[in-house]
Amino acid sequence: MNSYFNSTLFRKTLAGASGLFLVVFLIGHLVGNLQLFIPGDAGQKQFNEYALFMTTNPAVKLLSIITYTCIILHILTTIILVRQSSKARDVQYLHKSGNANSTWASKNMAILGTLVLVFIVIHLRSFWYEMHFGAIGLDSWGNKDLHTVTVTAFKELWYVLFYVCSMGVLGVHLKHGVESVFQTLGVKTRRYFSLIHNTAFGFALIIPTAFACIPIYIYVTQL
């Protein structure tokens, strides 16, 4: 068993599986965020109540711990693997093959992932930090007013653009990542190949697009 846990294949599986959990998290996160489309006070109230629930409910707490663990696991296993594999070839080719034999995304997941991480840090600083530690105001119903923080943040065009671009990066990351997990787990058999391929593509397209629509919507409605 020991060799299993030390194998590159197991580490890769861990990286993939944790990534897959993060995709599930993304879906949940997205569903919550869709409440930002609710206009007016009702929207503000519901969103802030939701924010309260998400920061206090013990089950959600547990889920968030799992999420953080997955992020760390995803990053750590990847770093270990990248370091390990970087030792597999000291001398690089003079003439690069470009994208003749594989997609750009598949070869640059680490760069894409790092960009996503940068986004996550900024994102957490803007909202999660404000919610927990920031000088955040209360809304008319006495809840922390994360809704206003959000709406205010997306008044800035550059900030909206940053979000939209980041979602583009996430999409490319997911495009390769989601499909790849099923290959690594060994379940992308010929029978399920198209299903997995298309679903992964769908996820990679829909989730980031939906996420990106939120800041655009907020920005546009405030013009």
Binding site: M1, S3, Y4, N6, S7, T8, L9, F10, R11, K12, T13, L81, Q84, S85, S86, K87, A88, R89, D90, V91, Q92, Y93, L94, H95, K96, S97, G98, A100, N101, S102, T103, S106, K107, M109, H176, E179, S180, Q183, T184, L185, G186, V187, K188, T189, R190
Partner: protein
């Protein structure tokens, strides 16, 4: 008859310890029907004539089956053509005046011996770790004693077609040997004869692959794209499955 004039940028390295460098050569009057290796033969004749050492490269059958030839041509293992070994690549696929860069397989598990010749004995060691069915000579039952469905036999064959050239490793950004290992593991896991040692085989071969210093698989698919026998990454999927299955069973 069309002839070609080419500039060749070739990796020259005298011995495993030598640092190595690229050198540029010009060859002229090449017949377009020549194979790529015959073009190098012409260069070597030219080098011998001018008292220089010819370029060392591995080659043997020159019909695409022995797996000996191994060079990265303009960044592509075995050159730009799909499903082709270097020895089957012909000069008609190049243009007059082209500059061609020729490099050895690059992977720490395939150390350069000289010029374009690399040491692929790590592949042999992976096979020795379990890429066989333990059956002593003379102890086999009748060939028809165990029926094997045509489709299974065909699928096993597709995997068994691997020529062990190492293009998959050369093409992979992580120098992973997954496709090579997957081909052998899948062939034997598919066939009923391979069942007795199925679990140990995959565990031992994968751990040997790691020990030999090959990188991990990130599913870029470059191996399949460059494999001269077009072996599918579906077998890597199968390898992964076999590996998890065996380990989880314990």
């Amino acid at each position: 008859m069309d002839t070609l004039k080419l500039e060749l940028k070739i990796w020259r390295q005298d011995s495993p310890k030598d640092k190595g460098e690229f050198k540029t050569y010009k060859v002229d009057g090449l017949n377009t029907h020549m194979s790529f290796l015959e073009m190098l033969d012409v260069l070597n004749e030219q080098l011998i004539e001018s008292d220089s050492e010819p370029v060392a490269f591995d080659h043997d059958c020159r019909e695409g089956i022995c797996g000996m030839c191994s060079m990265v041509i303009n960044g592509r293992p075995h050159g730009p053509l799909k499903g082709t070994t270097t020895c089957q690549l012909h000069m008609r696929h190049f243009n007059d005046g082209d500059t061609i860069t020729i490099e050895p397989w690059r992977a720490n598990s395939f150390p350069v011996i000289k010029d374009l010749v690399v040491d692929r004995s790590s592949f042999d060691r992976i096979i020795q770790a379990g890429g066989y069915i333990s059956v002593n000579t003379g102890s086999a039952p009748d060939g028809n004693a165990m029926p094997i469905g045509k489709e299974v036999a065909e699928e096993a064959f597709d995997a068994a077609a691997c020529i062990g050239c190492g293009a998959c490793v050369a093409a992979c950004k992580n120098a992973s040997a997954s496709l090579f290992v997957a081909a052998k593991v899948s062939q034997l896991a598919l066939l009923p004869q391979g069942q007795a040692e199925r679990d140990d085989r995959v565990v031992n071969m994968v751990s040997k692959m790691d020990q030999e210093g090959f990188g991990h698989c990130t599913n870029t698919g470059a191996c399949e794209a460059e494999c001269p026998k077009e072996i599918s990454v579906e077998y890597i999927r199968k390898l992964n499955w076999e590996y998890h299955r065996s380990n989880i069973k314990g």
